[in-house]
């Protein structure tokens, strides 16, 4: 069964450093998402991406964040200058359609900012 994959599974970085989280969505999916989950809290939406453009983003997704689909298979989330409060699990998800589409999540990247 096709799955969303994410790398790395864990990342430790120093405050102020840039990190790039990588995702390979399910191959026939066209809609891509990033969510995050701070330890013990809800899963929160960050951004949705379709046709090489951001289609929706949350208040969390400020100028420090960016997304890119650099090739036909990868989808990345970049945090330019990490803060302590960016420590969380980051999940990538993908879907065959936007509205009303079932979103399938990857296993996550655990980011720890020191």
């Amino acid at each position: 069964e096709p799955e969303v994959t994410q790398t790395p599974s864990h990342q430790v970085t120093q405050m102020g450093q840039e990190v790039i989280l990588r995702c390979v969505p399910i191959s026939n999916h066209l809609y891509f998402y990033w969510y995050r989950q701070i330890l013990g809290q809800k899963v929160e939406f960050l951004v949705s991406f379709y046709n090489n453009e951001i289609s929706e983003k949350s208040e969390i997704f400020d100028d420090q964040f960016s997304v890119e689909r650099p090739d036909g298979s990868n989808f990345t989330l970049k945090i330019r200058s990490t803060k302590l409060e960016d420590s969380a699990m980051y999940f990538c998800a993908s879907s065959t359609q936007g509205a009303r589409g079932s979103q399938y999540f990857g296993p996550g990247t655990r980011l720890l900012v020191l």
Partner: protein
């Protein structure tokens, strides 16, 4: 603002003891209501999508139902491997808004 409230926060059941988890929601325009299972340290695993009041879906020991204000996840004769956190989410346009989940423990 979309809101999702799940209850109870935690539920402990004996193996074989059936029960229901509740998800109440407010959303400006519901595109879909989603149920996920999440194991510790893992990503949410998709279970069901419900689109309109009255709809029901089943998978093994799980059955999800939807009304205009809430959804229920019924678990029948659960087994220890059903232990997990069950998340409910509503979709408005594309984004999913999640509840805090119900942590279900099935005792052998």
């Amino acid at each position: 603002e979309d809101q999702v409230t799940q209850s109870p926060e935690a539920l402990r059941l004996q193996e074989g003891e059936s029960s229901s988890l509740n998800c109440s929601y407010t959303v400006s325009g519901l595109r879909g209501l989603f149920w996920y299972r999440q194991d510790p340290g893992k990503g949410p695993e998709f279970l069901f999508t419900l689109y309109s009041a009255g709809e029901e879906k089943e998978k093994e020991r799980l059955k999800a139902t939807l009304t205009k204000k809430e959804s229920f996840l019924h678990i029948t004769a659960p087994k220890p491997e059903d232990s997990a956190t069950y998340l409910c989410a509503v979709q408005d346009v594309e984004k999913l808004t999640f509840g805090t989940g119900t942590r279900l423990t099935i005792i052998p």
